[in-house]
């Protein structure tokens, strides 16, 4: 026998903060949990801790990923960098206790500056995503940096 489904609308007061903890699709104000969506109220019965009150919509659970959400992406690293490339990157975070810097190359001016082809010769960039070996004329994929003219030494 299916439990009775309770529908709610945005702004509806669901319960006290003492009776539940806020989940997705809710917000808290003045010690109460209010609904933020038009959908079904679900109470997950935790063992020990307070039940988590959340509002679910049947179609999609979340429209945009949150900070800290786990998402799947498909990347092709071999098309951007190879071991041994000299890369111009920008620091976006000093990292945490392990003190690993976080770098990004997600700009036009950042990316591979110097790369050697498989035959060992330094390659020449021909577009933002390709470099060519002057000896064997083979093209290889790299994420090439658009270096500013004042940094080029000619």
């Amino acid at each position: 026998m299916a439990p009775p489904v309770r529908y709610c609308i945005p702004g509806e007061r669901l319960c006290n903060l003492e009776e539940g903890s806020p989940g997705s699709g809710t917000y808290t104000r003045h010690g109460y949990i209010f609904s933020s969506l038009a959908g079904c109220v679900t109470k997950s019965s935790e063992n020990g801790a307070l039940p988590v009150v959340s509002v679910m919509r049947e179609t999609e659970s979340q429209l945009l990923p949150d900070v800290g959400a786990i998402v799947t992406c498909k990347v092709e690293i071999y098309k951007s960098f190879r071991p041994g490339d000299i890369v111009l990157a920008k620091v976006i975070s000093l990292g945490d206790a392990q003190s690993n810097y976080l770098l990004t190359t997600a700009e036009n001016e950042l990316g591979v500056v110097v790369a050697h082809s498989e035959s060992g010769v330094q390659m020449v960039p021909i577009s933002w995503c390709e470099m060519q070996c002057p000896k064997t004329h083979t093209k290889e994929f790299r994420k090439v940096a658009r270096v500013q003219p004042e940094f080029l030494q000619t």
Binding site: Y7, G11, R13, F34, A38, R57, L64
Partner: protein, 272 residues
């Protein structure tokens, strides 16, 4: 004698003679100034829009659709000052874009299809009233588009559009703090200013002043206020706002039912 069409030019436009006749319904009898017209609200009726709502109040019919959230390149806006209460900085909050359009057949006279200044003002009023209710901090760098189409103007068009827009946003699954309910008022010209709640088109046309209030019922906060017309004693405007807020609270249960019914319909459709 045949008319001289070269020198005597007829009017360019032609209108039906009823337009210039006196209105059949003369001065309406003293009505209860606090009466609200019965409202029909239905959400989730457009299959191609993310969220939609249709609202009918008396003769006023308005259809509202919501699309989004769509990613916008917001990199150039830079870091603005953080909002009160520790919300995301202004550059990261989502944006609400509202559009109010009056159908050419909405009024008694056919209005040109391209927008007029009044529509832009009403669209801005819509945006100002809906922004406090939508949790824009949950949609960083995204853009929500709300478009309201007035199919027939039977009075209190902006109020109906506000309510329909809030219903459409809730139907689209956009996170909101509360619904927004709109209510229109008008004051007839004369010495004794009695404010009429939910005026009809006739009452609005003859009014000396008009007011639209938008309320978030559960939080009991005014989301928007747009008034125009002659001044008058401040107490009468205060009285009007109070009357409008009362009207909004009375409308709330109808909208609640409408959204619950739509959620039920969605649940039944998802299961089958």
């Amino acid at each position: 004698m045949p008319g001289d069409h070269r020198r005597i030019r007829g009017p360019e436009e032609s209108q039906p003679p009823q337009l210039y006749a006196a209105d059949e319904d003369q001065e309406p009898d003293a009505r209860d100034p606090t009466r609200l017209r019965p409202v029909y609200a239905r959400s989730g009726l457009l299959s191609q829009a993310k969220g939609s709502a249709y609202l009918e109040a008396g003769g006023t019919k308005v259809l509202c659709a919501v699309s989004g959230p769509r990613q916008v390149e917001g990199g150039e806006r830079g870091g603005g000052p953080a909002g009160a209460g520790g919300e995301a900085p202004a550059a990261l909050r989502g944006r609400l874009i509202c559009d109010f359009r009056r159908a050419p057949f909405a009024g008694r006279r056919r209005s040109p299809p391209q927008g007029s200044g009044e529509e832009r003002e009403l669209a801005l009023a819509l945006q100002e009233a809906l922004e406090p209710a939508v949790r824009l901090c949950r949609y960083p760098r995204a853009q929500l588009e709300v478009s309201a189409l007035l199919l027939e103007d039977g009075g209190s068009a902006l109020a109906a559009a506000l309510t329909a827009a809030a219903l459409a946003l809730a139907d689209a699954g956009i996170e909101m703090y509360d619904l927004v309910v709109g209510c229109g008022l008008s004051r007839a010209p004369g010495p004794s200013p009695t404010w009429l709640l939910d005026p009809t088109r006739l009452e609005e046309e003859r009014a000396a002043a008009g007011l639209t209030v938008a309320l978030m019922p559960v939080l009991n906060q005014v989301a928007g206020l747009l008034g125009s017309g002659e001044g008058g004693p401040t107490e009468s405007w205060v009285e009007a706002v109070r009357l409008g807020l009362e009207g909004c609270q009375r409308l709330y249960p109808v909208l609640q039912q409408c959204l619950v019914r739509a959620a039920r319909r969605r649940g039944a459709a998802a299961q089958s």
